[in-house]
Each structure stands twice: as C-alpha cells, then as structure tokens.
C-alpha cells in the first residue's frame, strides 16, 4: 500500500461537514456528523447497511438537503448552493448511472457533453478515457451487456470525464470480482495522486484498509475516525473487522 498522501498545509480542506443531520420521519439517518477531509485524500466511510453512508453522500452531492447542519465541498456550501459545485464534483452511485441502451462510448460522450465537453475537446477526452480504461475493444458494446467489472470501470469514467476535484463513490465495488476490484483501486489511487479527493463508502474490510483515513458510521453516528491502524488501536482490536464486530456487539449489549 502506498503511503497516505499528506495534505498540503496551505490547501483548504476538500470536504467539511458540521453537525450534519438527516432525519426521515422518526428515523435519524445521519446524526450530527462532523468531518474534515483534506484535499487529495482517499477517505473511507465504513458501516453496515442503513448506517447512513449513502445518505451522507447524497447530502454532500446536493441530491438531498440535510435536516440541519452545514456541508462544504470544494469550498462551496452544498446545502444552499448545490448547483455551483456540480462542475467540480463527480459521483458514482451504487447503481452506476449508466444507460444500458447506449454503448460504452455513447455513455462517455453523453456525460462529457453534460459537463460541457463537446466538439473536438469532448471527442479528445472520450478517446483519452477509452484508451486509459482499455475500452477500445468494447467501445461499441451496449453498456447493459457489459460485465460487472467493466460497468464499474465505465461508470467511474463517466463520473470523472470532467476531472472533478472531489469524487464520491457509493459502494463502487459491490458485486464485482476481486481482480476487477484490485484494478479499480489502482485507478482510484491514481486519481488521488493527481490531487482528486475521494470519499468512498464500503463494507468490505480489505477496501477499508486501502483508504488513507476512515470513519466508522454506526446508525448514523460517527463512532471512530482516523487511519486504519489508529482505528484498530482506538477500539483495541487486532483488525478492522474485529473492531467492526466489537462495535456491533457493544451496540447490542447497550440495547
């Protein structure tokens, strides 16, 4: 694993949340979440299903307004002005957001077009992505007929055609084979080296280990935050998985 990228002291944090809160009726999905994520970091949100990971990402991408609290992404207040930050953030949802009835190339062109990459510039960008992703042989294949790993790769490309400053990945590797997952993480690492800040949710422990820093969400609350080894130390567990299970047991004991 490469060393965590040290944030430049001068650069402002890429993501700041303060007491971010989301309630659906009686259910508190996210409970006063306060986080600061420096530029260029791969930050993992770890948690079980229903722990508030997706809701957090949706609030940070402007898909959902929070009940209260504030959030700043790339220096823009996403709660009050989500439109101004759209050019600077990329988002890959659990469902990939691909058009099954469009070819790989058409999907890329469409998303590039939405970000204003058109004409010669757009074409060049699409060609660049097709080459970088090894999509040449599959460029005319309908996205719906691609295998999970290729879909995931294409989805990442669509989310990054405009070279966003901040990239949100919501369980990007669910249902993908280990080789494709490894390749995917190499691409993520490369993007982070280029200065992209990445917030990724996962419930795979091996993926969590690859993050620079982690936050463990439990029923919408932030339980622990830090580098993977700091978290295991904090919770007195030999591995992340043990730490995760320890949390679950503690929660059940309290209930």
């Amino acid at each position: 694993m490469s060393a965590p990228t040290a944030p430049a002291a001068s650069a402002p944090p890429a993501i700041i949340t303060e007491a971010l809160h989301k309630r659906f009726g009686d259910l508190v999905a996210v409970d006063s979440l306060t986080l600061t994520i420096p530029k260029g970091e791969i930050f993992g949100l770890l948690g079980a299903n229903g722990s508030g990971k997706t809701t957090t990402i949706r609030m940070l991408t402007g898909l959902m307004p929070p009940t209260s609290g504030s959030a700043t992404v790339a220096g823009v207040d996403v709660v009050h002005d989500p439109e101004s930050v759209r050019h600077r953030l990329g988002y890959m949802s659990q469902r990939y957001g691909l058009y099954d009835d469009l070819t790989a190339e058409e999907n890329l062109r469409f998303y590039a077009g939405l970000y204003g990459l058109v004409g010669r510039e757009g074409k060049a960008r699409v060609e660049e992505q097709i080459a970088a992703l090894d999509f040449t042989a599959r460029r005319r294949q309908l996205a719906g007929t691609l295998s999970g790993g290729w879909k995931q790769r294409l989805s990442l490309a669509c989310a990054t055609s405009h070279r966003p400053d901040v990239l949100f990945l919501d369980e990007p590797t669910a249902g993908v084979d280990p080789a494709a997952r490894r390749h995917f993480w190499e691409m993520i690492r490369e993007l982070a080296h280029g200065g992209t800040t990445i917030l990724v949710t996962t419930h795979y422990m091996d993926e969590a280990e690859r993050c620079d820093r982690l936050a463990i969400l439990w029923r919408g609350r932030l339980e622990a935050v830090g580098r993977p080894h700091e978290i295991t130390a904090q919770l007195g567990a030999p591995t992340l998985e043990d730490a995760f299970i320890a949390l679950q047991l503690r929660d059940q004991a309290a209930a």
């Binding site: 402007g62 898909l63 959902m64 439109e83 949802s93 469902r95 957001g97 058009y99 009835d101 939405l114």
Partner: protein
Amino acid sequence: MNDRIARWPFWAMLRKEFIQMRRDRLTLGMMIGIPAIQLALFGFAIRTEVRHLPTLVLDEARTRESRELVASLVNSSYFDVVGEVRGRAEIETRIGRGDAAAAVVIPHDFTRDLKRGRGAEAQVIVDAADPLSSQSALQGASLAGLNYRPTTRARQALELRVRPWYNPMLDSSTYIVPGIIGVLLSMTMIIINAMSVVRERERGTLEQLIVTPVDRTSLMLGKIVPFLLVGYVQVSVILLLGRLLFHVPIRGSIPLLFLMAFPFVVASLGIGLFFSTLVRTQAQAMQAGFMFIMPNILLSGFMFPRAAMPEPAQWIGLALPLTYFLTVLRGILLKGVGFEALWPEFLAMWGFAILIVTLSVRRFHKTLE
C-alpha cells in the same frame, strides 16, 4: 458564457434521447403499431350509426305503392327485411325475442290516402332499448320517406329535406378517425414521456443526471423535443391509414394541421412530464396516463357531442386540450376551414402547453426527495 454552458447539456440530452429512441422497440412500436391497431379497432369496430336492422314487414295494403315503400326502406340500407308477418301480435313476440329490431306496418288505407293526397301514413316500430339503433332507424325511416316517390302521382302534404353536410353518407368513421388522431396522440405522448422520465428514476440514471450541471430546463426540453418528432410521425401514420382504409376526407391544409398539432403535442408531453413528477414507477406512470385519457375520451367530444352534456361536464371539457384539438382536426379535415376559424383553439392549446410545462419544470426539483 453562462448561456453557452447552459445550452450544451441540452444538446447532449437531445442526442442521447434520439439514440435511445432508435434502440427502443417499445417507442417505435408505439409510434406505428399502436396507431395502426387502435385505428383498426376504433375505425372498424366502433360504429355509432347502425345499418341493416333486421326488420319485419306487415303489409296490410298489399299494393304496388306499399311494396315500393318497403323497397325504399330497404334501399336506405338501414333496414333488412327478415320476414313478413300477418299481425301485430307477431311483431311484438318477434321483436321481444330479439329476432328483429324493427317492423314496418303499412295499413289498409295507405294507398287510398296516398291517392287522395291526404298524407298517407305508415308506421315504423323500433326496438328502442338500444337508443343508437333506434335513432338510426328513425333517421333511416325519414330518409326513406323523403326519397319515397310513388309512381302514382300524389301530392305530399309536407316536404322536409335534411341535408347532411360534410359527411353526406353519415358515416361515423369520417367523424371518429380524425378524433382518433387526437386521442392516440395525447395517449402516447403522455405515457411515453412520463415513462421515459420515470425509467430514468427507476434505473438510477436520474440520480446521476441530478449531480451533473444539467439544468432543469435542458432536462425537460431534452425529454420534449425528440418526442415531438414521434408525435408527427404518428399524426402522419394515422392520417395515411385513415385515408387509405376509411377514405377520410382531407379538405383543408395539411401544413396547417401540422402547425396546429404543435401546441397540442407539447401540451400532451407536458402532462406526461407532470405525471412523472407525481409517480414513482413505470406502471404507475402508465396508470396515470390511462386515468387521464378516460375523461378525455368521454368529455372532449371524441365520442359524444359536447352539446349534449350537462354544463359542468362541458366546463371540464374546456379544460382539456383534446377538446380544442378535436375541433381543429374536424375543422381542417372535414370542413376544410383555415386558420381564421381556428386561431382561438390554437391560442387555447398554447396557453395550456405553456402552463403545464412551466408547472412540471417547477415541480421537478433537482433532488431525490
């Protein structure tokens, strides 16, 4: 600069919609298949004029004149003689059994009265349990009465001439087929468009679109413009089939019809967009579409004349764009009237289109809630 940025997502949307449309068999089917099926269904099966009523004859006069009257009724094509009877009681039983739907009774003194010029009387008895058939029978009887010219010279007491304009054959397909263009157009436009937005929601691509810089207007226009084309293909298909299969007249200007169809198609697409902001699944979108179409079919004047409706029903009709478009269709196709007669409808449809599209764009928030 801002304008330029705002315009690009629209072109990307447009391009994408066209590619998807080309690959989507359902849309293509809706464009051509559904019009063909519906046209055949409505045009051939739905007849409001009833011809060839099985008819009994009770001819008490038994003269040449009375036989000529029967022949004249048969010639009107409204009546088919299925039997001669000897008495009124037999008429009652056979109509009651359903063997016959009408009976002609020519009394003994028919020919005598005719010759004296006193205004001879014959009777047509009709099974009026079905008002549509009975009306046809009445109509047929009066037409036959008018055309009845006995060879014997006779002076008629009263002469009444009915002149059916625009549709001299009183053929209901002439009336129904132009209406089908309107009904089918609004049905497919509403459903196709609502489903297309809801499908994006279901498949998760809408979520992806929301995080991009695409603005609501580009998104909505991207969903309207490609389907305008579908609408025009549909109008052309139905017109062509209506002409070939039903010999529907085209007396007015086709370019005018296409011009007038524009606000109607936009209004229908707007309703589809509006529904897409109310429903969650494609099945719900389909249901909402049909629920909207029902009152349209009943209240717009497609099947039943609006003049016959109670006032509240007429007011509801005025709130439906189809009501105006039907006036336009029948006006152009059957009467050959021009824009000078139809501009109020044109304006009404535009008003509705602008209202509903604005409302949908406002309702469509770029969030998932």
